[in-house]
Symmetry: C2
Subunit: 379 residues, 2 copies
């Protein structure tokens, strides 16, 4: 595998766009990524499109208005990890030398659904008993708070930080701060989670252009190097008796660090899958940023806030940005790349050299069929 | 890219299994492929699952009952070309040296839909005007018959051949011959297409194990070499003024032959995408098996029948086998591999050395967003 770099990024502001098609949402992100990369449409050798619920041939529908449908296009699904998985597929093909330059898109239009939590597969028995995503994360939260003797304010603090970061991100769906009191008093969803603990649903799209190092050099575009790409499936959590140890993320993190030749102490910033506030705390621990039970302290000490040692979700995370399922993975990568290229504006992480994008996806309860993708980038 | 070989195949008999889940359909095919390859579950480094309408995380749901969900799993969609595209993704990753042994699955459960033609995307304007798949192919058929002055009996002859082959395939949904008279008198669907001209819908699953040549050697499994893998998107047909020249297939065929270093005259057998009888005739021409307008003669002369110079769809094709969208691509590959390994039983093509699997996928009308995958195999 040869070196592969991200040389262009694009995304739209996530939000609710019921009047738009999936293609309407995504082609502007594609054009932005191409312009940033400085490549022509004809330079793109192939495209991968990640979407979970976007329907058949999403990539073709998105590229049709751009006249770019004559290239190989593969559509990739892995629930919330759909476009991170698509990114990995593109990375492998460029790394293998099949294409010099390729496009990866993430897109989702959740407003075409009826709203509320994600729909479930009929054969998913856990979900049929009411274990929808918010309920699942609520169980994890209860267990975590019980085990480590914390109150719900440690959850609310995640949301407070997310919103503080999100205000500085013009692509975030929610760009409004929230106080600890407001978060704690917000509408209950599934005890102890309140609406402030849950990412908003919505529509969104993001895109990146990836290329071989040689191709990037020809364009005089340095871009950002993909230091490792890890995908895993398996148990979303360890089992019914331990809801708080996301096995799949731990395993993926171990592999990701090893492949990149670094440790968690080398990560300068991370975008992690904070679909619910509790998730971010659990992922601090699973990703090795702190020991088990120490996540609330890490957060309270400001270590994971902008200005801290390892800012987590400087973009505002899913809690601010929204979580249009299939768009999320690539949107996280867009943030990391912009940060490493020192062009993240008011939310810039100082001197960022190594960034991580982490996303998980689960059928619904995902007891045994989750996915986790971790990408590490270095400038 | 290093050499990659198919070392194990599996499929279930296609048919209507409304009581089964997608996982129920597919895991037996996976086990069969693993057994043929002579590999243990732990030898499989990663899996790709192609499905068009199977819902989120199909691969994980399928591998869950086999305890195989801890590996990287990517789900791939490209309409009818879904699992051929998944196969290509797996081929690239094994070829790139990331995995030594991987699994590719194709699965679909169409009986969970309400029946009839495939559902359409709301934003697909051609479909919203009634241009569903059968109507589209009917227009192509009318044009072809008009241009080359043939009657509907040339279509019926495709079905007669398909059924003749299908009788010898215990995995085919329809295992019953049909006479020319019966085909011509069968229920009209969209003039000039009759029910005998249309592939049956149904459920199905197929799987293959692929591996590096070195890994195959260690197992003392020769398998079948992947000589070229081509994926393209673009126009399903050339335009409104020429419905009969499938541009995307022509272009993919050109690339596939070039990459494999062969020409159409070197192909000993082919599985082509005969979703409708007219399609097979058009593909004879697009794949270079004969000149434009000569397809009916090629068929009538027995060239494409078992015993002929280049048997097409010895499996019975989609017309006999059924067309559970996402399962089709891998099922075609299963047939080619078994033929090249000289274990196709009563439908064995003598001394087959080179085989081709061709599949197309289209949004619905696919005027500008089809997909075409061609794989060439050699023993």
């Amino acid at each position: 595998m040869r070196e592969v770099r991200v040389i262009g990024t694009g995304m739209i502001r996530f939000g609710k766009y019921p009047e738009k098609t999936l293609a309407d949402l995504a082609w502007p992100a594609v054009l932005q990524a191409l312009a940033e990369a400085g490549v022509e449409r004809r330079d793109v050798g192939a495209a991968w499109c990640g979407t979970a619920l976007g329907g058949m041939m999403a990539g073709q529908r998105i590229l049709k208005p751009l006249g770019m449908t004559s290239i190989p296009i593969a559509n990739v699904e892995n629930a919330c990890a759909s476009s991170a998985t698509a990114f990995r597929e593109g990375y492998i093909a460029v790394g293998a030398g099949i294409y010099d330059c390729a496009l990866v898109i993430g897109a989702e239009k959740l407003t075409k659904l009826r709203g509320g939590p994600l729909p479930v597969e009929q054969e998913d028995w856990e979900a049929s008993y009411g274990l929808m995503m918010p309920a699942l994360y609520a169980m994890r939260a209860r267990r975590y708070l019980h085990d480590h003797k914390f109150g719900p304010e440690v959850l609310a603090q995640v949301s407070v930080k997310a919103r503080k970061h999100g205000v500085k991100n013009e692509d975030a769906q929610i760009q409004q701060e929230i106080s600890l009191e407001e978060a704690l008093a917000s509408r209950p969803i599934a005890e102890p989670l309140r609406i402030a603990d849950c990412c908003p649903t919505g529509d969104g799209a993001a895109a990146v252009v990836i290329a071989s190092a040689e191709f990037a050099r020809k364009l005089s575009r340095q871009g950002v190097r993909i230091a490792s790409s890890t995908l895993n499936s398996g148990k979303f959590m360890t089992g019914f008796r331990d809801f708080t140890s996301p096995e799949i993320t731990k395993r993926a993190a171990h592999e990701a660090y090893e492949a990149a030749g670094i440790g968690p102490e080398d990560v300068d910033l991370a975008e992690v899958h904070d679909a619910f506030s509790i998730a971010e705390l659990l992922y601090y621990e699973a990703l090795g940023f702190c020991a088990g039970g120490d996540a609330p302290k890490l957060l309270a000490d400001g270590v994971t806030s902008l200005g801290g040692r390892i800012p987590v979700n400087p973009s505002g995370g899913l809690l601010s940005k929204g979580h249009p399922v299939g768009a999320t993975g690539v949107a996280q990568i867009v943030e990391i790349v912009r940060q490493l290229e020192n062009r993240a504006g008011g939310r810039q992480v100082d001197d960022a050299k190594v960034g991580m994008a982490h996303v998980t996806g689960g059928g619904i309860s995902g007891l045994d069929h989750g996915a986790c993708a971790i990408h590490i980038f270095a400038r």
